[in-house]
């Protein structure tokens, strides 16, 4: 639930400036990473750090294959976190292909680490898909995706309480 606070602030920045300050995304990522380690998800957290370092490699093909190998090793090392590692790699890969903003990527990684489950991506991407559909019919080429991340996370957190 705590992750929703930085996401709400990030949504404000994204809707107004189409950018999210680094301090906000990094605070969310570091907080989620620390929480994930406390819960025993240290392999996905280490993978996130490794992907951050791998991003510095200059040759794209080399960078992407190295990241894929690292993610595969992380998944094999801790099979329970395999889906988590795959989700983190896909998000990083989309960002590396320049299909996703850096703030979106970091906030999605933070959400995955905070919940310790990639299922949270389901409401996020569904809200993002709806947002994309609306933007498509309004002839817009891009969408402020942080709003989808916030709303999807909020739905994932709140809906189970409502259904009880």
């Amino acid at each position: 639930m705590l992750i929703c606070a930085p996401l709400l602030i990030a949504t404000y920045y994204d809707l107004h400036f189409r950018e999210v300050p680094a301090w906000l995304t990094l605070t969310a990522l570091l907080g989620s990473g620390a929480y994930a380690i406390l819960r025993g998800f240290w392999i996905p957290t280490l993978l996130t750090v490794a992907l951050c370092v791998v991003s510095e490699m200059t040759i794209p093909a080399q960078r992407r294959s190295f990241a894929a190998v690292l993610s595969a090793f992380a998944a094999i090392f801790e099979p329970a976190s395999a889906i988590l590692c795959l989700a983190l790699f896909i998000i990083w890969f989309l960002w590396d292909l320049d299909k996703m903003g850096g703030a979106d990527m970091k906030l999605m990684a933070a959400v995955i680490l905070a919940f310790g489950s990639p299922i949270v991506l389901l409401p996020i991407t569904l809200v993002g898909g709806l947002q994309g559909l609306v933007a498509y019919f309004r002839k817009q080429t891009s969408v402020p995706y942080v709003f989808s991340i916030f709303l999807g996370t909020l739905l994932y957190t709140v809906v189970p309480f409502i259904l009880k």
Binding site: A10, Y13, D14, R18, E19, V20, P21, A22, T25, L26, L51, C52, S55, E56, A75, I76, F77, P79, A82, I83, L94, W95, K99, M100, G101, G102, A103, D104, M105, K106, I119, L121, L122, T125, L126, G128, G129, L130, Q131, G132, L133, A135, Y136, Q140, T141, S142, V143, P144, Y145, V146, S148
Partner: protein
């Protein structure tokens, strides 16, 4: 660092739609084949 310096919070409309479809399909596949996939990954981890 490139990872830390990118502050953009935008995504192209097409990608948002494609991701939604892919995640839905992946979730459906996971519900159907999840147990088998976990067994295969555990088996590979055991062999390594």
């Amino acid at each position: 660092m490139r990872f830390l310096k990118d502050h953009r919070g935008i995504e192209s409309t097409e990608v948002a739609l494609i991701i939604a479809v892919v995640v839905l399909v992946a979730y459906g596949a996971y519900r159907l084949l999840g147990a088998n996939i976990a067994a295969i990954v555990t088996d590979i981890a055991g062999k390594i």
